[in-house]
Symmetry: C2
Subunit: 373 residues, 2 copies
């Protein structure tokens, strides 16, 4: 192969989204590089903003002859994407396939013919050229579809547990906890004997987690939610939370409960609250509304963003390799992902299909297979 | 001396504040301890919550015969002070005086007769028994009144600059910046060549800071405040802020400006914002209303509480000694505090006087002199 069909996204300064399939030349892999023939690249929620930005997808149109999707950007929203205007950009954070070419490094050569998963930012393509260190080499028998979601959810879930240990906590709270990621987190924690306080929004989500062995589940739609949350935090001693929601008062409520637990035996002034380090990381933004902090948690607390890529950058390379191996070993159990729909390139840029996957329904999970015609 | 007159505070479960002057026995100092005869103990804003809690001071009454102040606790507020109910507690965070007795350790003995400042939590007393390490030994000629405010403001200001360096920042933003603390911070930073972006609330406060050489002053009451803030953060490269206010959107606005500066040259998606570590520490609560976070600053940001005592606990002991020495050396310049009123014990618990100092007016500064009759 000399070239590769690849999906690109472009937002013009004039306010148009153009997503299109283009032929791009394939480089000869350098010593440490491999070329992966992509067979399955998931469309994760985190891919959608790069793909579409603030486009009005209800008005999207596909030009089949040019294999190009066009949609107008919502009025007034262009400033939100000023850094990307008029640039043709690759998309697709992760994917899996077969190594079909490799640089001269023996470790790269050893990967020829193997099924690997990659994290690259350009996986919506027939072929990807990546450094060999960016690959998770999967076991024989693992298919590309099974391996497709090896990075985003598995390493985020593992990263939460790593963060917990690195920062001296012993249990954690997770919101929007019935997500695919949340289920992985519970499987990891059940195995490792770590307690997770799962916050969900309805009974159906609670049931999903119960089935996989989750012990602490708090339904935020229940009247006595705050009481249950306090109990669960008290029993687990959780002083760390990961929040996928962002908006509203939940982050503050979690810290308030942690403080009440930390201060329950306090004597004297306790003006500055418990000395426990109470931390919430916001890693998602399901609710774009402002985060409201009531600050009823003394002086020893923190809130911050948490981003997988930046977290991985803090780990020692050998630890990253260990985590990769763990994902390969348990890709069909702990880290299994169930896909509901396979898309060709054309389907991926067809307005009706976009409408389906952009809805981000619980349980619905799409991937692109560039070899599907 | 065998006993010491000392002010204590008590909030009863029945909802009464009782502040009273009591005789307490003085211990014999252990080897590493000294006894300080207090001559000046400031009433800082941070002393007032321990002293009064949520008492309705408009209804306070002084019983002169018993030397006891009584005031009712505001209805429904008792739960905010549940940890201290029915406990007689000492008050007064800092103060200064003369070492009048010392344990057998040579270093303790060497302090006899010297003017020292202490941080103890029980300085509203004739005498305090403290470990010698809790003292800043002042130079000959420094008076107790000059030395009285050696800890809370000076070490907080120094701690901010220490934090800046320890966490890899090179400039900082400060709110409520015309405070005594804010002025010290500017003096320190002018000396050390560190840029401070000062946020104040009116022109009068701006003028105070201009006089002491502050270069970056942003008036939040000005129409173009956000533009000025952005400019100042751009010019200084500040990625750290200390906030004394807490409530409202200012914390969020500071982070937003830092992100805009960090992302101004960004190309491509920039979905997760600048990789600069943007941090705001909330160290005060001038505004009790909720903190509102708009989260328009990518994924690399943090907000948290900052408390002097917990920060000092992270420093190496030899660094603490260095900072103490710095305070002693510059107590009449960088760390000078101007007191406007000297109070006897009786005056300190007299309702009209309480009303004055509890107003926390800019420029007004009170201290207790136990020897005043």
């Amino acid at each position: 192969m000399q070239s590769s069909k690849q999906l690109f996204t472009l937002i013009t300064a004039a306010g148009q989204l153009e997503m299109s399939l283009k032929d791009t030349p394939l480089p000869t892999p350098k010593a440490h590089e491999v070329i992966v023939k992509i067979e399955a690249a998931p469309i994760n929620p985190s891919d959608m903003w790069p793909m579409f930005g603030p486009a009005n997808l209800a008005e999207a149109k596909l030009d089949k002859a040019k294999m190009q999707l066009n949609a107008p950007i919502y009025q007034g929203m262009l400033s939100r994407v000023s850094s990307r205007l008029d640039q043709v950009l690759p998309i697709g954070n992760e994917g899996a396939g077969t190594v079909v070419a490799a640089g001269e490094h023996p470790a790269a050569q050893a990967m020829l013919g193997k099924t690997v998963a990659i994290l690259s930012g350009a996986t919506y393509a027939e072929y990807c050229c990546v450094p060999m260190q960016a690959c998770i080499v999967h076991h024989e028998g693992t298919t590309a579809k099974q391996a497709a979601s090896s990075f985003v959810n598995p390493l985020t879930a593992l990263g939460m547990v790593e963060t917990m240990r690195m920062e001296g906590h012993t249990a954690l709270v997770h919101t929007a906890a019935a997500s695919a990621l949340g289920q992985m987190l519970n499987k990891i924690c059940v195995k490792q004997g770590v307690n997770v306080v799962n916050i969900v929004r309805n009974q159906q989500q609670a049931d999903i987690l119960k089935k996989i062995g989750a012990k602490y589940i708090c339904d935020s739609s229940a009247a006595d939610f705050k009481k249950h949350l306090l109990q669960a935090i008290d029993e687990t001693g959780a002083t760390l939370a990961f929040d996928a929601i962002g908006g509203g008062e939940l982050v503050s409520d979690i810290l308030t409960a942690m403080e009440r637990v930390g201060s329950k035996d306090a004597k004297g002034f306790n003006t500055y609250g418990s000395a426990d380090n109470k931390q919430v990381y916001i890693y998602g933004g399901l609710d774009f509304s402002p985060t409201i902090l009531n600050r009823a948690y003394g002086m020893t607390w923190g809130i911050g963003g948490w981003l997988l890529m930046r977290f991985l950058g803090k780990l020692k390379p050998e630890r990253v390799v260990e985590l990769h191996k763990l994902v390969a070993d348990e890709i069909n159990t702990t880290f299994a992902t169930t896909f509901t729909q396979e898309l060709s390139f054309e389907e991926a840029i067809t307005p009706a299909t976009i409408n389906d996957y952009n809805a981000k329904k619980t349980g619905a999970k799409y991937y692109i297979n560039p070899t599907k015609v």
